[in-house]
């Protein structure tokens, strides 16, 4: 990305930190235009891999005529294909992602998700892969189709910065409509309808998609604020009415239940063959991007 582009996004430090990162596909990519990722297709690329006996129907242009002349046996030369991998970055902009309020001392989950999305888009875009964004927010769903042209990352950043959190989780319909021949990165707090999301992700993964779940967790969710509070869930209508009283002491039950939820979430995502990374708002976005790209599981 050019300096002008970095200035336009306002994320120069983040983009500098992720510059040079490569994000190879975890599996061979299906049929796709030539790119940087290993393809499951055998083609006629210049880099020789192996011979195989000619079978009826093979392209005669792949025959090794010299070998046929010397040994009177027909072989064709095979080579690995390289393909592009379209990457969809899906950002959860539901009301729960607005926690906690943005302040100099804390970062909301959506802000972290937005910055991680921009960082990942920059990494993908640097590999000349098409990258697009889907974000569900208070006003609906915004999309940036996958592109490789210049200015894609600033455009993605502009779209992400122009939305505000609100409403319930609406990721599943957007994800279900995606092509399976792509890498889908979902940045969410997994507090929405996770079962439906997992079903859609499972179907896509089975169809060949490479699914990555980036579980965004606020530091304030791990260590609740001191004192008694009347806790209300911003996405639960019932909880919005009544609320639950959080005692000033004895938070062990909450910590245990939340830890069990995170463990269960990680196991369920990995069980469907998806990648899973847990990122915390207390960490820098660049570190979270590296954790997702490298696949360490958490940061």
């Amino acid at each position: 990305m050019s300096a002008a582009g970095e200035n336009r996004t306002g994320h120069g430090a983040l983009l500098d930190a992720v510059r040079g990162l490569r994000w190879p596909a975890r599996r061979a990519v299906g049929a796709a235009p030539p790119g940087t990722h290993r393809s499951s297709q055998r083609g006629t690329a210049g880099e020789f891999t192996e011979y195989r006996l000619y079978r009826q129907g093979d392209d005669p242009r792949a025959l090794d005529w010299k070998l046929l002349g010397r040994s009177d046996r027909a072989f064709i030369k095979l080579s690995d294909d390289r393909a592009l991998l379209t990457t969809w970055i899906v950002v959860d902009g539901s009301a729960s992602m607005a926690f906690p309020d943005d302040s100099p001392s804390s970062r909301s989950k959506f802000r972290l998700a937005r910055e991680v999305a921009i960082g990942l888009a920059a990494v993908v875009h640097a590999s000349s892969d098409p990258v697009g964004v889907i974000v569900s927010h208070a006003a609906g769903v915004s999309r940036v189709p996958p592109r490789t042209r210049r200015g894609t990352v600033p455009e993605i950043a502009r779209v992400l910065e122009g939305v505000s959190c609100g409403g319930a989780d609406a990721l599943t319909p957007s994800i279900a409509a995606l092509s399976p021949n792509a890498r889908i990165v979902c940045l969410t707090d997994c507090l929405g309808d996770q079962d439906a999301l997992l079903r859609a992700a499972s179907a896509l993964t089975a169809a060949g998609a490479q699914f990555e779940c980036v579980h965004v967790i606020a530091a304030e969710e791990l260590a609740l604020p001191a004192g008694a509070h009347l806790v209300r869930d911003p996405e639960s209508a019932e909880s919005r009415q009544a609320g639950v009283v959080l005692p000033a002491r004895d938070r062990a039950g909450y910590a245990k239940a939340f830890a069990e939820f995170r463990d269960a979430t990680r196991q369920r995502w990995r069980a469907i063959g998806a990648g899973y990374t847990e990122v915390h708002t207390s960490n820098e976005p660049a570190r979270a991007v590296r954790a997702v790209v490298v696949g360490t599981g958490s940061c």
Binding site: S96, D189, L191, E221, H229, V231, R232, S239, V244, A257
Partner: protein, 421 residues
Amino acid sequence: MGMAAVAALAIAALHLLSVRQPPTLWLPTARFVEAGDARAVARRPRPNDLLLLALRVAALLLAGAALAGARCDGGGPARVHLVVADSAFRSDSAAWWPRAVASADASAGTSVGTSADAERVMAVWATGVHTDPGAALVAAQREAARIANADRAVEQVALTVVVPSHVRSTRGWQTWRSAWPGAVHVVSHTARGDTIADPTDLPSRVPVVVQTSLDDDPVVAAFAGMRSAQPVVIVRDSVMDSTRDARDTIVVHWPNTGAPAAWQHLISADSIGGVAAREVALVAPFIRAFAWKPDSALADTPIVWWSDGETVATEHATATGCARAVYLPVVSGSDVLQGAAAAGVREALISPCGGALLSTAALTVAPQDSSASKVAEARAFRSAGAASERSEPWWLTPLLLVVALGLLIAEQVLRRREMTA
């Protein structure tokens, strides 16, 4: 009523407290929170829910007033003055009533906040005041309790006791005086026929003479060495010499057998366990074969009594002094009259004329205790009395209870409305 006031104060104090709602926290992970009790009590400078507070306090006070027996008084007298006198004084009440009323007026003038118009003077007739003025105090206590419980407007009860100049005993007075919670004005009155003289302060300088024909007369031994203020001659002959009447000499007729003329023979003798005089009791077994019959012509005054109240010795005035008659059978050789227990009998028989009884002059002296110099408060008798707490008029209690119930219902309605709002 006091309990209702305390409860109302407690309610008002509770309205200064408020259950504070904890601050709201929008937490996406609220589903993992285990519900707990986080209510906190906080003080407020002003009571909250003033209308609810007013309804509750009013209901409590009305219920308390109803149960305490509220009364609608028409402005009765704030003070009642009791004048207690012996029933025997009823006939000559004209002689002592003005003084008793004057005592009442004097006490009204010294009391703060009362006037003569706000005072009612009541006469109370009691029996036994002649014997012991304490009977007047008992009757006054009973009457004061009745008045205080019957009339809630009465705030003070003043007391004036009309007492004879001489009585048999003042023990009852001394006992019951402390039970009266205020001042007691004493008006002394001498009934017609009573001996007025009070020569108790005369010095004893004349030896007592006992004339007897017995060799071992116990009376001689009892009075040996005793002196009296007036010459006393104790005659132990059965028949009294009517010519024996020396000037200023007290003749005591105490026959060693039989009884003086005023005593009549009983059909059958009985036993009696003691004799009392001048507040000293002699406990000893006696055989009583005669009983005293009052002779109106002689106007005898009893001075020594059996333990059952019958007369042992009498005194009547004569032209030159007084004469006494005694029926107290004592076995020859007995020393029953020589002990300290018999001192009352001995002193009563040799005391100067009119001095056999106790003077009530000391009762008129005001006590040093300041609390006993004020008019008694009526509430002291109300608390002492076990009168029922009934309202006046009778329908006042149910009316107050109904109003209190209505206020409580209104409080419930208001509270539900606030909760739903």
